[in-house]
Assembly symmetry: C2
Homo-oligomer: 78 residues x 2
Amino acid sequence: EWSIEKGVENCLSRVFVFKNFAQALQFTNQVGAVAESEGHHPLLITEWGRVTVKWWTHKIGGLHKTDFIMAARTDKLV
Amino acid sequence: EWSIEKGVENCLSRVFVFKNFAQALQFTNQVGAVAESEGHHPLLITEWGRVTVKWWTHKIGGLHKTDFIMAARTDKLV
C-alpha cells in the first residue's frame, strides 16, 4: 500500500490508521526508533487516528534501495 | 511566529527547529502529551531537525479560541 509520491524529491508514502491519537503517536515513536537505529529518517505526519510515513533519500534527491527496505521495516511494526 | 494557513479548514501553523531527529521527536511527544491532557489534537509533522505543528478545530472547520491557547502552550514547551 505504499505509493510513490512524485515531487521535487520523489518519496514512498503510506498512511497507517489507528484508533486514536495516543496509538498514532506510539507508532510514530516506533518508526522513529527504527529510523534512529539505521541513521535514516522519514517524515512522519501524526494526527488523531493516523500516521503518514514518507521515506526518501535527501542526498540523492529521491528514492534509494534503503527507502524500500525502511518501508518494509515500517510495515512490520503494525 | 504562528501563521494562519488558509485551506479547506484554516489552521495555525508553526515550524520549530531542532538539532537532530531525536530532539524533534521528543518535542512531538511533548506536544502530544499536552494534546492528550486537553483532549484537543494537532497535526504534527516530524522530520530530521524540525517539527511543524498545526492547530485547528475540526468540529467547526477552522480556528477556535482553544487553538490559540494550544499554540501558546506549545510555545512554552521549547
